[in-house]
């Protein structure tokens, strides 16, 4: 019976999430500060990748300008904090809302004219570049100097500053869990089916009663909102932001590469991709540290290989195996 099958799948999935979550919950006890930092980066990039995944993976709209949302999040919370002393926790959500509004604006402009593929990617890139140039030239945002978050002696929960990495770790873990649940709901509710239908065949989706402009724009709004939360986390973890770090293409590329490597349009794809890249790049850095930029070439090679051999990412590889096994039985 398909119904039972469904319930079993739902149950299995929740069990997966709980198991993975528990593993991550316990991990810090076993790790040194260095490995904890690596782990935080893995989770942080999984979070960003997942945010991109909502639009790029589920709805199939390839954004190359997600750093726009990232920067809006980072700058909003940081500016609110240093200018008028609003706690970054609150600033985080104000940034998220601003990014969501920006997402709605970009979505309405681009999707209304049915921009797709490279054209959509270029438009989003243009937006992120615009914001980068504004941040670079505006006195208010600190120009090229950027913003240094003033440190508080001893750290402060209220000001989103911690001395120990474990608190950061649990913060990002909780954020990641939230976005997992959002993505999980995509796999099981109308909204997610609609996004996937738009990704697969836009014209057919329209003729089945799906308001394409609306659903794409909502996807961009959600995606932008979460990306901005990641921006604030970055600012509070690194205590420093500048226009190139936040609005530059690097952040966008990290989100895309890790998601594609793990499997776009899947819940755990960004986590898998992020883990592989982070571990590999740490190893490469320690082995090839003196040759600067070599790990970037390594990135490129991984991406090319993945595109050629596993266009559906690592999750696609796992799923393909499972399907074949089922058929064998």
């Amino acid at each position: 019976m398909p119904e039972i099958n469904m319930f079993r799948r739902v149950k299995l999935f929740i069990i997966y999430i709980v198991i993975i979550f528990c593993i991550f919950l316990g991990l810090p006890q076993l790790l040194s500060s260095y490995f904890l930092h690596v782990l935080i980066l893995i989770l942080y990039f999984s979070f960003l990748g997942s945010a991109w995944n909502i639009l790029g993976g589920y709805a199939g709209q390839f954004s190359f300008g997600h750093s726009a949302f990232f920067g809006v999040g980072a700058y909003t919370s940081s500016l609110l904090y240093i200018k008028i002393g609003i706690s970054p926790w609150i600033g985080m959500f104000i940034g998220g809302i601003l990014a969501a509004i920006l997402g709605g604006f970009i979505g309405y402009l681009t999707f209304r004219y049915k921009l797709r593929g490279a054209f959509f990617a270029l438009s989003t890139f243009a937006f992120s570049e615009m914001l980068r140039i504004i941040a670079l030239n505006w006195e208010f945002t600190g120009k090229a100097v950027g913003i240094l978050i003033p440190l508080i002696q001893g750290g402060s929960l209220q000001h989103f500053q911690f001395l120990n990495k474990i608190t950061y770790y649990y913060t990002i873990l909780f954020m990641l869990l939230t976005i997992w649940l959002v993505q999980y709901s995509f796999d099981h509710f109308k909204f997610g089916y609609y996004l996937k239908a738009i990704r697969e065949e836009e014209e057919a989706a329209g003729s089945l009663g799906i308001n394409i402009l609306k659903y794409k724009t909502i996807a961009l709004i959600i995606s932008g909102f979460f990306t901005a939360l990641g921006g604030t986390f970055y600012a509070q973890y690194m205590f420093y932001i500048d226009p190139d770090i936040t609005f530059g293409t690097n952040v966008t590329i990290e989100m895309i590469v890790r998601t594609m490597l793990g499997g776009a349009g899947t819940v755990f794809g960004p986590l898998i991709g992020s883990t592989i890249i982070e571990l590999a790049s740490e190893v490469m850095r320690s082995l090839l540290g003196e040759y600067k930029g070599l790990h970037m070439m390594f990135y490129a090679i991984i991406l090319i290989l993945v595109m050629i051999f596993f266009p559906n990412g690592m999750m696609g590889l796992l799923r393909g195996k499972k399907k074949e096994e089922q058929k064998g039985i």
């Binding site: 398909p2 119904e3 099958n5 469904m6 099981h188 509710f189 109308k190 089916y193 609609y194 996937k196 239908a197 697969e200 065949e201 014209e203 057919a204 989706a205 329209g206 003729s207 089945l208 009663g209 799906i210 308001n211 394409i212 349009g265």
Partner: protein, 241 residues
């Protein structure tokens, strides 16, 4: 007032006039065949009705309401659904999920939408394939999937664009039975089909197009003996000679 009324419809692409002054009226419960040589404008008429693009001029009145200017999803919500000549399945979704997307048009609750979809899968004979990816289906199965997905939106008028092309005789027979069954459920059908034997067998009325113009309309017998239709398909006397 007819169920669907198309008046003086025009559509051109650049210098090419694809649909020229077409006027058609369809009653509830009919099966109307739409025939014509390649490039006659059949699919363009489908695209105009379903809101893929707007006509240059003319009106399309569905159940007393002018639907010109509506976008595809609005037309679908009004109760007009279609299949595509070049099939457009959601490849990376399962068969069940494909239908479910259509079912959400009228049914908001997922559980109900799933039950409805399963019934529909039974109806078109894809029940055993429900958990397969759409990309793994055969051509005949993909055609059934398109049909089921369009039906899932619960249309009053269904536009079928060559659902039988590429099917073997047995599959064609099944498809004909399916179409008659759909019609018995009270759904009006507008069918594009190249195979004359099929279109003659299923249609109440046939409309023949040539170079974007309506050249004939009538019962299957009238159409098959209509001099203009014969000319359009076989060429004029001069060309034959």
């Amino acid at each position: 007032m007819s169920f669907l009324e198309i008046r003086n419809l025009y559509k051109s692409f650049g210098g090419l006039i694809a649909v020229r002054n077409v006027t058609v009226s369809i009653e509830r419960g009919e099966i109307i065949g739409l025939i014509g040589p390649n490039g006659a404008g059949k699919t363009t008429i489908f695209n105009l009705i379903s809101g893929t693009f707007p006509p240059d001029s003319g009106v399309i009145i569905f159940e007393g309401e002018n639907i010109v200017g509506m976008i595809d999803y609005q037309v679908c919500q009004k109760g007009i659904s279609r299949t595509y000549q070049i099939m457009k399945p959601f490849n990376k979704l399962t068969v069940m999920e494909n239908i479910l997307v259509g079912a959400f048009n009228k049914i908001k609750k997922k559980r109900l939408a799933m039950e409805f979809s399963l019934d529909l899968l039974n109806f078109v004979g894809l029940y055993s394939k429900r958990n397969d990816l759409a990309s793994n289906l055969t051509i005949a199965e993909k055609k059934s999937l398109e049909l089921a997905r369009a039906l899932a939106t619960q249309p009053k008028l269904l536009l079928l664009d060559e659902v039988m092309a590429g099917l073997n005789p047995k599959e064609q027979n099944d498809a004909i039975n399916l179409i008659m069954e759909i019609n018995r459920k009270g759904i009006t059908l507008l069918v594009i089909e190249h195979k004359m034997k099929i279109i003659m067998a299923i249609s109440n009325r046939i409309i023949a197009l040539h170079n974007g113009e309506k050249i004939a309309e009538g019962t299957p017998e009238e159409i098959s003996n209509h001099p203009k239709v014969i000319e359009a398909y076989l060429g004029g006397k001069d060309t034959l000679a």
